[in-house]
Structures are given as structure tokens and as C-alpha cells.
């Protein structure tokens, strides 16, 4: 198959690559760009491990052709921390045990990031609803819920501090 030259906008950077038009975004991220934080856990969009944000919306990169996403801002787990400062969700997943084997974690964090961007104070039900497309086989989800709750608290504290500074 002929290669096409495409440009992808990922984590605030531009990447110019040549690839076949039938390549999945998941494979281009992992194999061509070395962004291996996006995981493949299944082959049929069952598990959500390959979740990335497309203009802020969580989508499964195992269902997406890379060539079709040239005009979108793509965020992978590698783009979530602010330099050496972890995102509150990343901190939450560390301190509340949300990541055991860690394989579902990137997808969980990106999905939760979208939730908290829309709804900074979600109920447990809203969190569970939002994460229901991301499977985990380790935790039973209890500590994942606690991790997101912790991130909500950290965000609130950060906002309070910011307000006091003003």
C-alpha cells in the first residue's frame, strides 16, 4: 500500500510522518512515534486501554485511522503531566492505589480527565458511569474510584490556593 505523508498534532507538538492510510492511530502512536503509554489490551474496543483525547474527548485509538485525525489535537498519557509536575489525577492514582499493574491506567486517567474538565465535582455514580468503558482486572475499581476522588480534592485545593493568591 502506498504511503501518505501526514501531520499529527500530539501533546502540543507537530509530527510529520509517512504511513499507509490503513494504519490505526494506536499503531502509529506506539510503533512510529514511540508513544507507548497508549496500550493495546484487546482488538475490538472492549477494554479502553488505548484511550486518547481527541480535542478533549476520550476515544479509542484502536478504532481510528491515523490519517483521519490530522486536524485534531490529540492528547496521550505522555502529554498529561505539566513538565515534571504530575496532573492531580496522576497524583491521585499514585497515592490511592489506582494503578496496580498499570496497564489500564493511561486510559483511565485520560477518560477521567475528560470527566473532571466537564464536571469538577462528580458523584461516585458519575465517575463510575464515565469510567465504565475502561476495564481493569486488578483493582475491582474501588481504589480507582478513590484515586479520582483524590484528584477532585487536589483540584479543589489548588483552586482555593489560586483564589487566595488573587
Amino acid at each position: 500500500m502506498n504511503q501518505e505523508s501526514i501531520q499529527l498534532h500530539i501533546n502540543g507538538r507537530k509530527f510529520q510522518i509517512a504511513t499507509e492510510p490503513n494504519r490505526l492511530l494506536l499503531d502509529v502512536l506506539r510503533q512510529d512515534l514511540g508513544l507507548t503509554g497508549t496500550k493495546r489490551g484487546c482488538d475490538d474496543s472492549s477494554c479502553g486501554a488505548c484511550t486518547v483525547l481527541i480535542d478533549g474527548e476520550p476515544q479509542m485509538s484502536c478504532l481510528m485511522l491515523a490519517v483521519s485525525y490530522q486536524d485534531y489535537e490529540i492528547t496521550t498519557i505522555e502529554g498529561v503531566a505539566d513538565g515534571s509536575r504530575l496532573d492531580p489525577l496522576q497524583q491521585g492514582f499514585c497515592v490511592e492505589g489506582g494503578a496496580q499493574c498499570g496497564f489500564c491506567t493511561p486510559g483511565m486517567i485520560l477518560t477521567a480527565k475528560h470527566l473532571l474538565a466537564r464536571n469538577p465535582d462528580p458523584t461516585d455514580e458519575e465517575i463510575n458511569q464515565a469510567l465504565s468503558g475502561n476495564l481493569c482486572r486488578c483493582t475491582g475499581y474501588t481504589q480507582i474510584l478513590a484515586s479520582v476522588r483524590r484528584a477532585v480534592e487536589l483540584l479543589r485545593e489548588a483552586q482555593l490556593q489560586e483564589a487566595q493568591l488573587r
Binding site: 472492549s46 497515592v95 492505589g97 496496580q100 486488578c138 474501588t142
Partner: protein
């Protein structure tokens, strides 16, 4: 590897706080939340080829011929390997060497491995697989164990008559006398469907051959490095050496991050050997990563099990005898099967005081993927049957389910009737805790129709007291090195698979040396660099690697304190290590201000060598924990057992048969929680996996074809089907565990299932004896109950 505390709040890294019993994040958690951590499929070497495996389309067939010529001619193909080139047999158990890398002569299940290809891309490799021509003579196949046990012809393995892999017949005490003494005897048949691990990371292996060194006559074959998603790097190294016919020192296995195991990566999986064989032939690195469907067929999960169970009790609930006939549908190869069938009998009675026990166990071969070890190995289905029957008996006799368990407790320290040594026993406390927290007395038998509560217990080994391959070497060894800056590095063969192995060892060493976690680094699971550990299975790591790490830290501490004592002209007994400092009881040194780093430097200088102080610790289980002398006595013994008691609350819809689990409370005796955060995570994960087996998960077979080889079809629960799981940690402080610790990662799974089944009975009055408890089974049982009640009116 170690956490930067600036990233993580409340990480408990403060130097003045003991890391023992602290809720510290896993040492690799930052790598996991940033995506920086590398799993096997994330690795790539220059020129890596894609490996693919041709699987059998037949459940049982003779291979008449394999023609690979067209595949070999396809541009981009670098290697094609079949069973002709891979004749060496292997298997995880010394008594079960019945597999070859690629099939020789016969295929025994749909999915069996026939040939492998390495090519420049996955699509070329797949095209090459299509070009391989295999002529099969299809043979009659066996799918049901009870039918398979009657086979006389077309045996799955010629040397296994009646397709029985192994049978055991144990009799302890005198069951005839026990049943004669009983006031009430029950006989029930239980059936448990086959379930699988479905770890989220599909198995993956990357193999690279280094060509032989022409100047070194001892190196004619070259050497191989294998990165793999394994729970058992050491056994993988040995099996690679055996099947590739290389000396062990020419094989290096490195375990990157592993995305969950649950037992599915606790033996050598065919792709691990196939990648290495292909890499050798292709003279290039080869990576194979299974598709999710291949993961399901690779399996090695929990077998379908039939339990015919008979229990006799006195009127007060005291058990007088137990007799079990257990059949396991093991699939086409031995795998861990001999151990699985033994566990199903050996641990059946061992959490209670039962004087008379009889066990007949049959591990049966069928033409399906091999079953193996899965979380709670061998014990789960037997525990479901036993605890359910105990609850049935309690109901008939009008005894509270908690009371009937109290009536049958062990009195440790003791030996069970089948020779298992029990020292610490937190089970009574687990029972009391869940009864109290659940409001059991208020609820049991008193909730409105459709709502119910159930109670059950379980236990599990903290590592097997006898190694798979019997030898004199310790079960695990941990090395420490301390440099003059006071940095401590742990070298361990123990395999972190997401359960917290690395973090546990870092905490143990830091606690013993009285230092902060940031001072401790860990290098793990690289057979060329780290000492031997047998692997992450049978919940052995905390007890065994934890004890070895503790022994190594004690040795290092002794040397450091000796050097400091010499310098201060005092005795080591006057010295202690805490809060990153050396503390001295000698009045002359009351105001001593000596940091750990300074003391380490002193000790390093005293050693006078290469600037590093080294210490080693190892662990082997004591002879008193190794069990009896009868055939099969080696499986079941452990230096310590964990215990769990649980309550489950459910809502059953009598119109649809749907069961909703509302709440689980799990009390787990882990001896001592080195890291309560991780203990809770392990217990919750176990309970959740038990819930999956109780009400959702099932490998659905049509003949030898799996009908649901996907995570959605297999019904792995999402957040929406997963209830809150409350955990209670019980600390019985095992006298031989590291700081008193025992296992936490498996033992809670088994109690969940019978607790849910009893809750369903409490809700709607029917006993479901077949897993999983589907709405259809509930409706059928309710219908039968209605019919019985109509007849009796």
C-alpha cells in the same frame, strides 16, 4: 525507579516515619501514571521482526504433513519453524513434560501451535501463515471430562490411559466412623464453570540472539536474551535453555513491567519459546504479542470442576467427616494440573478442625486449551462447594452460619489431619469483624424478600513449602549493596506483576535499616543480574522474598553497626538504626549525631574493598512446614496460611432472576500489613475476581471452540457492575513471616463466591450449586421451588 516525593503528596517518605505499615504508593507508580513505564510490547530493538503463530483449526488431529515452502518464498519472511525443529518436550511440572514448542505428530486443541513465522511486518507474517499447508487426519475428540474418563481409543496422550492425567486417593482418619457418628449427613453435587485470568496486558515476548563468539570455543550456539511478560523469569530461563538446547548461562530473561498475571503468566507460555526459536533462525530480534483471542486460547485458567461432596455433622454443628470426589476438566496438556487437583483436596478441610477426610481427585484431559494456575489455585471451587454445603447444613440444623464455623475452628499451633502446619490463625477474628461490621445478626434471615446476606470463609498458602523442582537451593535470595553515599540497592529475582513485589521489598529493607524509602533502589527480575527467585505464584513473594530481603538487611545492619561500634569503642548491642541515624545507648555517646550515610561510609571503608558493602539474605521454608510423606503430600504445605471471612449482600429480582451484589465486606488476615494500601488493593482485587466467577464469567465452549474469546463477551465486569468492597485488615503476626506478614493477594477470592450464593438463598430461598449464577439458573431454581411447594400443599 523511585518516587520523587515532590510529585506525590502524603507518600509517607518522611525519614522519621517507619515505612513499615505505611500506605506508601508503589515505587513504580509514577512510571505507570505517566506512561513512561515499559511493558514488553513497548520495547523495540532495531530490525525487530514480527512473529506470528499458526494455530490448529482442529480439536484433535494427526498432522500428516506440513508444507512451508510457499511461506518461506514469500518476500519479507525471514524464518518459518515447525515441530520438526522443536522436538524437546517441556512443561512447568517435572511430571508434566508433555508440550513441544510446535506440535509434533498431533494437535490436541483448537489453537494448538503448529508453526511460527517471523517477517518484516505483521501483515506479511499473517500472509505467510495462510501459505502454510497442513494435512490433518481428524480424530474423535473429548470435550467433557466425565465422558473423556471413559475413553479407550484415540487417547489424547498415548501414555495416559482413560485420558486421566493424574488421580489421587487420600484418606485421613476414618470417614466411615466419622459418618457413623454424625447426626446429619449431606451429599451435594457442585459444578463450577471454567474461568480465565484475562490480564489486561496480552502476553508478549521479545527475543534476541547474539551470534556465537568465534574466538570462544565454549560458545558455539550464541546466547539469547528474552524480554517477556512472565511471572516466572527463572523457570522461563530454564525452559528456554532446555528447549533451545543451550546452557543456562547463555540464556538471559528480563521481565519488564507486567500488566497483570493472576497465574496466566506463571508458567512458560508457547509464544515465549516460539519467539526465541524464530529469532535464532531469523538471526534478528523477533517479537510476538498475542491478540486478545490468542490470550483466551493460551488460557491456563481455572478448570471446570465437578465436586461431589459429603459432610457429616453432630447436632451442634461439629463436623465429623468430609468426603469429596473431584473431577477437573484439565484441557489438552498437564500444565499445573497435578498441583491443581492436589490443592483442591489438600486445602478442602485445612481451615477447620476436621478429623476424618477422604478425597478422590481426578485431573482429566480433554481437547481444549490447557488449564493451569489461576488466583486461588485449586482451592476456589472446592471452597465454594464446602462453604456452601456448610451453610446448607447450618440452615437445616438451625445454627447461625457464623456459629457453625466457630464450632469447627482449628486450635493453633497445630497440624491438620493431612499434615499442614498452622501457626498463626486470624480466622476467628475475621469472622467476628465481618459479623459486626455487616450488621449480620440484624440482617441474616430477616431482610425482605429479594434481599439477602451471606457469609463464608477461605484461606490460602503464603507460598508453597516445596519448590516445583526439588533442589537444595533456597527458594529465594536477595542481595543488597550499599555504597558510601548510603544508597541501598536491592537485587532480587522476585517478579513484580502489579501486586507490589518491588514496593514490599523496598519497605522491608528501609524499615529494618531505619531509613527513608528514597534511599532504597531496586533491580529486579533479570536472570543475568539478580539472584534466583522462583517467581510470583502461590502468593509466595511477601513471605519468601520478604524474608530474604529482611535477612539481607539484617546482615547489612550488623556490618554497619559493627563498624560504627569499632569506631566509637562501644558494642553493637548499644546501637540502633532509626530515623536515618545511628542511635547509641552508651552514655558516652548520648549526643551522637551520626547519619545513616556517614555510618554506611564508615562500614564501606572498613570493608576496604571496591567502595560497596554487600549483604545477602535467603529463605527456605523450614522442614516442619513441608508436610507429610504420603503420595501428593508435597502440595498444600506452606509456612503460613492467610484467612478471610466475608459477608455479601445482594438484591435478587425474582421476575428476571437477576442478581445484583450490593455490598461486600472482606476481613483478611495477612499477618501484618507491610503496606495497608496495597493489602486492601489485593483483597479488593481478589474479591472482585471472585464476584466475576460467582455471577458473570464463564468460558463458553461449543465442542472445542470458545464462543466468547473477547473481554466483552467474557463479561469482565465494568465499574457499573462492581459494588463497593469494604476491607478489614486482621493482623495475626505470623511468627515466621517478615515482620509477621503473610499473603494478601489470593486468599480472599474463594470466600466471595459462597458468600454471594448464600446471600441469594437468604434473598429468595434457593440454593444455586452451579457457577456462574446466571439469571436463567435462578429462575429455574425458583420455578422448581414453586413446583415443589405446590406438590406439598
Amino acid at each position: 525507579m523511585s518516587l520523587n516525593p515532590a510529585f506525590v503528596p502524603n507518600s509517607g517518605n518522611g525519614a522519621n516515619r517507619s515505612p513499615l505499615g505505611a500506605r506508601v504508593p508503589m515505587v513504580d507508580s509514577v512510571d505507570k501514571v505517566t506512561g513512561a513505564g515499559k511493558y514488553t510490547d513497548d520495547l523495540a530493538l532495531p530490525g525487530t521482526l514480527a512473529g506470528k503463530i499458526l494455530h490448529s483449526p482442529h480439536a484433535h488431529a494427526r498432522i500428516l504433513s506440513v508444507d512451508t515452502s510457499a511461506a518461506e518464498r514469500l518476500p519479507g519472511v525471514h524464518a518459518v519453524v515447525t515441530g520438526r525443529e522443536t522436538p524437546v518436550k517441556y512443561g512447568i511440572l517435572p511430571v508434566g513434560h508433555d508440550e513441544t514448542i510446535f506440535a509434533t505428530g498431533k494437535v490436541r486443541y483448537i489453537g494448538d501451535n503448529v508453526a511460527g513465522v517471523a517477517a518484516e511486518s505483521e501483515s506479511v507474517a499473517e500472509e505467510a501463515l495462510r501459505l502454510i499447508k497442513v494435512d490433518y487426519e481428524v480424530l474423535p475428540a473429548y470435550f467433557d471430562p466425565e465422558q473423556s474418563m471413559r475413553a479407550e481409543t484415540n487417547l489424547i496422550h498415548d501414555e495416559k490411559p482413560r485420558n486421566i492425567e493424574k488421580e489421587y486417593h487420600h484418606h485421613f482418619g476414618n470417614v466411615e466412623a466419622g459418618f457413623a457418628e454424625a447426626d446429619y449427613i449431606r451429599d451435594d453435587r457442585f459444578e463450577c464453570a471454567e474461568v480465565t485470568h484475562a490480564a489486561l496486558e496480552p502476553h508478549s515476548t521479545l527475543a534476541q540472539f547474539d551470534p556465537s563468539d568465534p574466538s570462544d570455543p565454549s560458545d558455539p550456539e550464541g546466547s539469547v536474551t528474552v524480554w517477556s511478560s512472565t511471572q516466572v523469569p527463572y523457570y522461563l530461563m530454564r525452559t528456554l535453555a532446555a528447549t533451545l538446547e543451550l546452557p543456562e548461562e547463555k540464556v538471559r530473561v528480563i521481565k519488564p513491567l507486567v500488566g497483570g498475571g493472576f497465574g496466566g503468566k506463571s508458567e512458560v507460555i508457547p509464544l515465549e519459546l516460539a519467539a526465541a526459536v524464530l529469532a535464532r533462525q531469523a538471526r534478528a530480534p523477533v517479537k510476538i504479542t498475542y491478540t486478545r483471542e490468542e490470550v483466551f486460547y493460551a488460557h491456563r485458567g481455572r478448570p471446570r470442576q465437578i465436586v461431589e461432596l459429603k459432610t457429616g455433622v453432630k447436632r451442634d454443628g461439629k463436623i465429623t467427616a468430609v468426603e469429596a470426589r473431584i473431577i477437573q476438566d484439565g484441557g489438552a496438556y498437564c500444565s499445573y494440573g497435578v498441583v491443581t487437583i492436589l490443592y483442591s483436596g489438600q486445602l478442602l478441610n485445612a481451615m477447620y478442625d476436621i478429623p476424618n477426610v477422604k478425597f478422590d481427585g481426578y485431573r482429566v484431559l480433554t481437547n481444549k486449551p490447557a488449564c493451569g494456575a489461576m488466583r486461588g489455585h485449586g482451592t476456589v471451587n472446592s471452597r465454594f462447594a464446602f462453604e456452601t454445603q456448610l451453610n446448607m447444613i447450618a440452615e437445616v440444623l438451625g445454627i447461625d452460619p457464623a456459629a457453625i464455623r466457630r464450632r469447627n475452628l482449628l486450635q493453633p499451633p497445630c497440624m491438620t489431619v493431612n499434615g499442614l502446619r498452622v501457626l498463626s490463625y486470624g480466622y476467628p477474628e475475621c469472622l467476628e469483624k465481618v459479623v459486626e461490621q455487616s450488621g449480620w445478626k440484624r440482617k441474616y434471615g430477616k431482610l425482605p424478600y429479594g434481599k439477602g446476606i451471606g457469609l463464608a470463609g477461605s484461606h490460602y498458602v503464603s507460598g508453597a513449602a516445596n519448590a516445583i523442582v526439588r533442589s537444595e537451593i533456597p527458594h529465594t535470595t536477595v542481595d543488597l549493596s550499599i555504597d558510601r553515599s548510603g544508597t541501598v540497592t536491592i537485587y532480587t529475582g522476585a517478579a513484580e506483576i502489579g501486586q507490589g513485589s518491588d514496593t514490599m521489598q523496598v519497605q522491608v529493607v528501609a524499615a529494618e535499616l531505619g531509613i527513608g524509602l528514597n534511599r532504597v533502589k531496586i533491580v529486579a527480575a533479570d536472570t543475568a543480574r539478580t539472584p534466583i527467585d522462583l517467581g510470583s505464584y502461590s502468593s509466595r513473594v511477601t513471605f519468601m522474598a520478604g524474608n530474604a530481603a529482611l535477612a539481607a538487611a539484617r546482615e547489612a545492619k550488623k556490618r554497619i553497626l559493627a563498624a560504627v561500634a569499632h569506631k566509637l569503642a562501644t558494642t553493637p548491642e548499644n546501637l540502633a538504626m532509626e530515623g536515618e541515624h545511628i542511635v547509641c545507648r552508651d552514655p558516652a555517646w548520648r549526643n551522637l549525631s551520626l547519619t545513616f550515610a556517614e555510618a554506611a561510609e564508615e562500614a564501606v571503608l572498613a570493608v576496604g574493598s571496591d567502595g560497596t558493602l554487600r549483604a545477602t539474605g535467603s529463605y527456605s521454608p523450614p522442614a516442619s512446614a513441608q508436610g507429610g510423606k504420603y503420595k501428593g503430600a508435597g502440595v498444600g504445605p506452606s509456612p503460613a496460611y492467610s484467612y478471610s471471612a466475608q459477608t455479601a449482600e445482594v438484591t435478587v429480582d425474582p421476575e428476571t432472576g437477576e442478581v445484583k451484589v450490593d455490598r461486600i465486606i472482606a476481613a483478611h488476615d495477612c499477618g501484618k500489613a507491610i503496606n495497608p494500601l496495597n493489602v486492601e488493593g489485593q483483597v479488593q482485587g481478589s474479591v472482585w475476581m471472585g464476584l466475576g466467577q460467582a455471577v458473570q464469567e464463564e468460558m463458553m465452549w461449543q465442542g472445542g471452540r470458545l464462543m466468547n474469546p473477547g473481554l466483552l463477551e467474557y463479561r469482565s465486569a465494568s465499574t457499573l457492575e462492581s459494588p463497593p468492597i469494604e476491607t478489614i485488615i486482621v493482623e495475626s503476626n505470623d511468627p515466621e513471616g517478615p515482620f509477621g506478614a503473610k499473603e494478601a493477594g489470593e486468599g480472599s477470592l474463594a470466600a466471595t463466591i459462597p458468600a454471594v450464593v448464600q446471600a441469594i438463598h437468604d434473598a429468595v430461598g434457593v440454593w444455586i450449586t452451579s457457577l456462574p449464577v446466571t439469571p436463567e439458573k435462578v429462575l429455574r431454581a425458583l420455578e422448581e421451588k414453586r413446583r415443589r411447594e405446590e406438590l406439598s400443599h
